[in-house]
Symmetry: C2
Subunit: 199 residues, 2 copies
């Protein structure tokens, strides 16, 4: 069976990358979403292995020591990361696997899995992004400033991604992602087998 | 207006690249085919600027001396090449421009226009290519051997192209080409403008 493709999708809060990923999965049933691990407390309604793998700090740190994370980060005293083994399992089964992660995690995966496909989702403009963040209405000015500052950091890292897709009309953005996946499949380094004289 | 994209399509005789290009142009009216120049005699029914630009050897050599060809080659005592100016004109008008050329020409354009998109069209296997060449029925064994030898040369150069698309089912191959064009448009280096904080 043909191995699946590892797809890293990043982009600032407010850009709608979750919506893009959801729409992609609805269109393409072969796409799977990677589940992250975290040390934070499980909240009511959450299920181990669905929203997150809920690990103790000891378990998480053992995984790190054994180099079993594709990427990880610390937020507000908790560890978050992507266990490699379930991802490789899904890839081996032929699924394309999407990691929806922050750019800091994306950079780690560029080092560890340079053969993955890296897609950054951007807003039509920074002004639009700012308007979207403000438009939510339920967020304090401090929180908005913090998110904008983080968005600026993400935008500075974005040129290191292979593709930058603007989420203006959702269906166009999903068309773009699907075109990228189809194009990546026919990139020369993935197609050398068709040039062999004896098959 | 957005500048068009320069698309180089190569592949051995018998692989159906002309059919792929024709189908691409039928689907996408923005695509234009580049017209080559040649010093060979015009044949009945041919029109200057349609099949070829028919140039005298002196005109062609002056063009070469003035560096006005994207690529050129010599076949059976005649010169063939792609004048750069009409291509740049079409690109400036926003058209995607396809050059359907041999790999020797493709390599020249990789040097001169590394920003172009390079697509190699391959047969499902070398055996299929050989069968297709033989299946035409109107070709001498010597001619077939010659074409197979040339195909081997083209296949050895193919890994230097960015994309290798197999022409098995025509509509799939054209889907692949269109996906490549859509994906290239969202490659990070073509999208940096969307990251600017002031638009």
């Amino acid at each position: 069976m043909k191995k699946g493709r590892l797809i890293v999708i990043s982009g600032p809060s407010g850009v709608g990358k979750g919506t893009v990923v959801k729409a992609l999965m609805e269109r393409d049933p072969n796409v799977r979403l990677s589940v992250s691990a975290t040390t934070r407390e499980m909240r009511p309604g959450e299920v181990h292995g669905v929203q997150y793998y809920f690990l103790s700090r000891e378990e998480f740190e053992r995984g790190l020591a054994e180099n079993r994370f594709l990427e990880h980060a610390v937020y507000v005293d908790n560890l978050y990361g992507t266990p490699e083994e379930p991802v490789d399992q899904m890839l081996a089964e032929g699924h394309d696997v999407v990691l929806e992660i922050e750019v800091q995690g994306g950079l780690q995966i560029m080092e560890r899995r340079p053969d993955a496909t890296f897609i950054f989702i951007a807003a039509p403009s920074f002004e639009v992004l700012e308007a979207r963040l403000r438009g939510r209405g339920d967020t304090s000015e401090e929180k908005i400033r913090e998110r904008l500052e983080r968005a600026r950091v993400e935008y500075r890292v974005a040129p290191r991604y292979q593709y930058i897709i603007v989420n203006d009309r959702l269906s166009d953005a999903v068309d773009d992602v699907q075109a990228v996946l189809r194009a990546e499949a026919v990139r020369a380094d993935n197609q050398l087998h068709v040039l062999k004289e004896e098959s």
